[in-house]
Symmetry: D4
Subunit: 248 residues, 8 copies
Amino acid sequence: MNSEELKKLLEEIKENKLSVSEGVEKIKEVSYHDLGYAKIDTHRELRVGYPEVIYCEGKTNKQIVEIVRRLMLMNNNILATRASREVYDAISEVTCDAEYHIDARVVVVKRQKIVVTEKQIAVITAGTSDIPVAEEAAITAEVLGNKVIRIYDVGVAGIHRLLSKMDIISEANVIIVVAGMEGALASVVGGLVDKPVIAVPTSVGYGANFGGLAALLTMLNSCSSGIGVVNIDNGFGAGYLASNINRL
Amino acid sequence: MNSEELKKLLEEIKENKLSVSEGVEKIKEVSYHDLGYAKIDTHRELRVGYPEVIYCEGKTNKQIVEIVRRLMLMNNNILATRASREVYDAISEVTCDAEYHIDARVVVVKRQKIVVTEKQIAVITAGTSDIPVAEEAAITAEVLGNKVIRIYDVGVAGIHRLLSKMDIISEANVIIVVAGMEGALASVVGGLVDKPVIAVPTSVGYGANFGGLAALLTMLNSCSSGIGVVNIDNGFGAGYLASNINRL
Amino acid sequence: MNSEELKKLLEEIKENKLSVSEGVEKIKEVSYHDLGYAKIDTHRELRVGYPEVIYCEGKTNKQIVEIVRRLMLMNNNILATRASREVYDAISEVTCDAEYHIDARVVVVKRQKIVVTEKQIAVITAGTSDIPVAEEAAITAEVLGNKVIRIYDVGVAGIHRLLSKMDIISEANVIIVVAGMEGALASVVGGLVDKPVIAVPTSVGYGANFGGLAALLTMLNSCSSGIGVVNIDNGFGAGYLASNINRL
Amino acid sequence: MNSEELKKLLEEIKENKLSVSEGVEKIKEVSYHDLGYAKIDTHRELRVGYPEVIYCEGKTNKQIVEIVRRLMLMNNNILATRASREVYDAISEVTCDAEYHIDARVVVVKRQKIVVTEKQIAVITAGTSDIPVAEEAAITAEVLGNKVIRIYDVGVAGIHRLLSKMDIISEANVIIVVAGMEGALASVVGGLVDKPVIAVPTSVGYGANFGGLAALLTMLNSCSSGIGVVNIDNGFGAGYLASNINRL
Amino acid sequence: MNSEELKKLLEEIKENKLSVSEGVEKIKEVSYHDLGYAKIDTHRELRVGYPEVIYCEGKTNKQIVEIVRRLMLMNNNILATRASREVYDAISEVTCDAEYHIDARVVVVKRQKIVVTEKQIAVITAGTSDIPVAEEAAITAEVLGNKVIRIYDVGVAGIHRLLSKMDIISEANVIIVVAGMEGALASVVGGLVDKPVIAVPTSVGYGANFGGLAALLTMLNSCSSGIGVVNIDNGFGAGYLASNINRL
Amino acid sequence: MNSEELKKLLEEIKENKLSVSEGVEKIKEVSYHDLGYAKIDTHRELRVGYPEVIYCEGKTNKQIVEIVRRLMLMNNNILATRASREVYDAISEVTCDAEYHIDARVVVVKRQKIVVTEKQIAVITAGTSDIPVAEEAAITAEVLGNKVIRIYDVGVAGIHRLLSKMDIISEANVIIVVAGMEGALASVVGGLVDKPVIAVPTSVGYGANFGGLAALLTMLNSCSSGIGVVNIDNGFGAGYLASNINRL
Amino acid sequence: MNSEELKKLLEEIKENKLSVSEGVEKIKEVSYHDLGYAKIDTHRELRVGYPEVIYCEGKTNKQIVEIVRRLMLMNNNILATRASREVYDAISEVTCDAEYHIDARVVVVKRQKIVVTEKQIAVITAGTSDIPVAEEAAITAEVLGNKVIRIYDVGVAGIHRLLSKMDIISEANVIIVVAGMEGALASVVGGLVDKPVIAVPTSVGYGANFGGLAALLTMLNSCSSGIGVVNIDNGFGAGYLASNINRL
Amino acid sequence: MNSEELKKLLEEIKENKLSVSEGVEKIKEVSYHDLGYAKIDTHRELRVGYPEVIYCEGKTNKQIVEIVRRLMLMNNNILATRASREVYDAISEVTCDAEYHIDARVVVVKRQKIVVTEKQIAVITAGTSDIPVAEEAAITAEVLGNKVIRIYDVGVAGIHRLLSKMDIISEANVIIVVAGMEGALASVVGGLVDKPVIAVPTSVGYGANFGGLAALLTMLNSCSSGIGVVNIDNGFGAGYLASNINRL
């Protein structure tokens, strides 16, 4: 409820269009739908086609399907992340608009047309094994209405691969760098562009990698300026932040 | 050296304006000034007034002053971070344009007028003790040509303080959240706005805070989407990234 | 054995109702039943209906059933935590009073009526995935004789959901906050109430969450005062402590 | 602003005692005093004599004195924690009501009489070196209006010392256990009483103690139920929570 | 080869009973049997009945059986630790003297009578779940020729259980304390006896237990003196060290 | 592209053998084959018989087979590490030159004769369980054209085993020490030779070993000089570095 | 109070030599002297000459001196550890029997003759920098009545130094190994003797040593059996445990 | 004592040139000079000019000077690392051949001419602040007789600086990469050369750098093959290992 709405509401009270007790209720009124185990947001002034997001991990299939059903009433697009094939199958039973991105473990339910930006987001990976996280980022950004370009397996062990792609990368408005192992790619890219860089450490690696900690620390300590880091394997978060920046 | 320049250079060779060996040298030519202990970048196509940055920690005063001197030849603005008062005093001896921001531990040498954006960056802190890091971020952003608004001491322990400022915060283009202790402010702000949020954990706190690790993990694991995290106490990095976003 | 009992015992000796060696034995007498692999407490002056607790992890089904059997001789209510369905099945074979709470992984054997407090404990979760831990806390508190109110999925990413429930929460005598990911909910709630808050970090999350460590550190470092923290996923501990407070 | 107040305000608008724009302002009005670097809470319905708290670490003396001055206008008692002698000296210059507790590093400014509870809080330490943290807890609890009993140096290395004090300890309503090194005292006390226990790990120790981490983990993993843990060395937090419980 | 043997060897050379090159070989001679993937010790002056030990983890069944076969040639007793039932089955095929201790995951092949000490080792556990590790310690000590007494489930949450057993415990020559969760039992026992205490942290627990790290740190930081700690879950190491002490 | 090649290219432009735009393309030309999900290096001036390496973890069988196919076009030898039997089976379907080293989890596709060095690399393990990692190192070194000698199970618990092998070890040009548990072998070997030592910590062990961290820290902190450490279980890295040294 | 004493006390009550209330008091009577900030043990049946121990860190000089004074009343020998020179000076003012061991940071007040064992304890260090911790162990063992032999600077980087001393070491009854950096000495010694080995990690080292953590993990993970580990830099604990073993 | 020497010794005994007891002594004879607190190696067959090394940290000036004096008797060159100016001053009093490298904190005592290799070692740093560690490596390598080339401040944030120096770097026989912050330089260099790379993480950085841990993990997890890592800030170790490789 913004200032304008509050002002209007108070005026309605003044003009007796609304009783005092109704006003109290309205102000305190919850702007979500309550399923008990989940409270579904319904109050956002959404851009056309902007999706609702369901993080599937730790939710039962039954809960997920119920949430999907509720969101479909509002005719929203839906993005379900960390979704196993079983989740996809369950969702498929209530809508035929669901499509499954197996690499990214993402289900997209498209109910409205997505208007796409002209400016684009580049998604880069250091290795082949980082692709699933990169795809989560890329699809998130696309569903949020961004044009995305993918450049995969350009890690620093063979830096000529990266340098040969710098022209394309430099044209992007925002750059997402996805890297596991030591995660050095973010620093090198950060030093070559003057656009916002979002770094996603992945849990790819072994030994003293500690499930992505090595890449995470690398990215946080980058000697290149202008890098924002998200959680390990958090492709969704990177895609979401990139979209927030790209749509400014 | 971009494609255009390379093309031009090759044409000069073809037209015999440039010998082959001159061409080889040119292509390999280093685009920095070499002081031995430091290689100063001189090749950037800079926006007018855009500063060069010196990270002072681990450099001797003598080295810093020499780098400042060299940069002043190019008439750049200069931003020296993590600068003690001794560093400021040393710089003051070679230029009277230096000003010291004691909270932020930043020296600014202003040689050219800075053109300021209309869109603004909000810098928010959870507590009073987080202000030095916030100031590093704010001054960095200002020197990089951004309009900055400061909102300090609005941590979640008294959430009405934050809520009362949401109107101002929501108008900003980019939001920097600076918080120590448990760092929860970033999540709350991230849930209230749909602009890019840059989170800066600070080392403020004690005990199981582990020098800012607690706030860092909080911010990386935020349940709010659209948050990019920088290193602990890295106000400069946050200001720089915010500027890259704000100037898109 | 309290002072009164000791005094009485010594007087019995003095009055020759008890021999000296009997007295020595009595004083040293163990106040538990010894099964070899487990020593079952039998000396507590229990409130009516107060249950005995079995932590099932690391015990064989055979051991658990034997302990249940022994406790049923004393006609106690029994609370078995971290109980798999197999544990429940095994217990069901020796008593038909067992009921299984699948979310909470708790078996309750009710042999006596539980007298319930008037003052209530609020159990709050940040997300849907935190519900199993919350249920362990809630059922523990209920079996210990407390009135419990559940408020689930009110994490800080959508703070209006929490604010809309503050009236109900504020009426509780003790508040248990269950949160994974970054665990910021505890700080926000702690800042809004002046009742004791018990924070339970959960292992819900991924990446730099480190199995609940992120939420644990957040809660320990909370900028809000008056928060006591229990171990990661320790719903039972939270319910037990809340009950100890609520029954004062 | 609670429901009652909101209702009253809306009625004043309805009755034209308040203009709509005044109402908007009132509702949005901040309930704190803004010093720029700090926002001082002024909206709490305080119990008589209840103090305002200043956490001094990371604040300049000038800031602290200014906050003290502002709070004195409201005639509050004040509790300044983590206060060096320099802080005390600075506060002494603006009020002669300040007293310094050197062990606890706490300054108390008493402007109103404190009404003390009958029920008492026991503060226990494992060793002599834990006393400063214990004193922070004890004085906090006292300033918040609680009766406090201190029992120091009863660590488990000589358990007869603890057992000889159990009668006194058992009579307390809430028990604060302060322990460094391995922190085992909390578990032993937790097993001997059925009152809420608040455990405070201290940074006392060396080697693999890791600044209190060993004691912290011990307390979080306690095999005794009913223990809530606060941050390392956080005597204030323990005292505050104990008071919240004791005053229920 | 001790000094006496070396002296004798040199005298044989002097007396021409041994050629110089034979002497060189003898001195350098390896005192083990080499299987390529394993070098089996054969040079120890063994006490009668003293077993050879095989740590099974990371060895294939084929390797284990081959090592057992080789050791049986020397008629040694054999202790195989961390042995799955499959390992036991494989060993059983080459000898019918193998017995399997399922709790302790230990196989014992007894080929010679074990002479048992009079002085005894006490093995104590905090809980029922610590018994497997305790059994590994107890059986190791027994196979090494020590009298062992077991006292299980006497953790500090109900300290009367421990105190009631102190008479028996005090009579032991060496005490092994096995405890998971917070591991406080070692400190309490260490404070009650003046015999060497060997502490074994176990990985029993959850959350911030970190696989036994909590108990390990507790034991290393014990405020009681005279405690030696072995690795997490290392029952064998504790039994071996206790035996070395008990047989002095 | 080295200086010579660049010079030649520029001369061709000058002599009109190459157009300017062709030159631009050539210089920017990528020196790898792009499969989308992987960019295969094709620009190395390889020693005869030198293999291409595929790290299989995180790649699908389909991706691996496609990369193998592409590399075989260039008639290279191929070394596929971290290869499961399924990977081997898949590769076997496209070439009959593949052989599987089951211990080392390595597939070798030999298409050219490997020329072997005279100087040899010694690969030493502390225990039997370290052999798989040692084999990865040994086979890598062999495929890269080095003579390798294996000495297994000579850990410091029976130091006479190591000392008896020092003659052989000292003759090697480079020494790879593979050790888990506490990893002390590297320090002892490092003190006995004056050749480069490469230390490989393994994840063999349990408890406070933390997946190889204990051995890793031991090796990094070695009191012996001249030891270079690679990642935990990184046999390939050790073999590769040893080869780089041995072939100097 | 042991069984015998309890029996006697109960008989006195029976025979009316003691009233019941006197008996209650006696049984509950504390067996220590209470200074408020410290409870001094006075109930131990001490071996002749056995010292009382004061851990000085975290105690004020005034507290230490008061404790010394109290202990001197009982004519005990006193061992004050972690004592700065200031502590020594303060103690010297109340007794002229104090001597300061500057390396070990230990003050010894000798009031009774110490009877020394025949069997000896060997104290071994890896380097020169480990000597202070070794001296704390050695002096502790000596004051507790043990014969001690010191062998310093025999780390594994030059293993011939250690081997040349093995005859002397093997004759000891208990062996204390003190080592920083990677701490490998404990494993090597443990493999060469069949006596109890007590390992003391020291904080000597840098970088990834993490204040002694590297040596601690090495010792806990030792591949040699029969090693008990104490806390980092805990020379006192090692000396105490060694004495407990040596005096069996 | 090698095989040859042992053979000769045994023959002398056979020929009665040496008595048996003399032989025993000789074989057991220590090949070092024993100062009690230090055992100085004197048995190495040294290359001409090869220095003895003293690690100064944790040694008193008196001890260092005594060791220097003893080594000078053998006319060795001496390298004293981690030497403060005070150490240098103390050494200067016993020899005028000492020179102090203030950046590297190294004292060199040159008594013999150093023969220098033709093949050279490249020492590279990411930043200016890494130079002290690099200098420790460079001077160590030089004193050990290697030609060294220094290339400083070529970190990946401005990768053109590195690329412009690749010709020089590629000519080196061994490459030492010294980098703090995120340490990405090692990976990039490792991908560009086929020579052995030794990576030295430095403690330069702040926040989540954790004293060099970030750079250490980066280097251990490098996606480039052929990199050996030494301890944080261990310039000496890198120089020593590089020398061992370069002199093969």
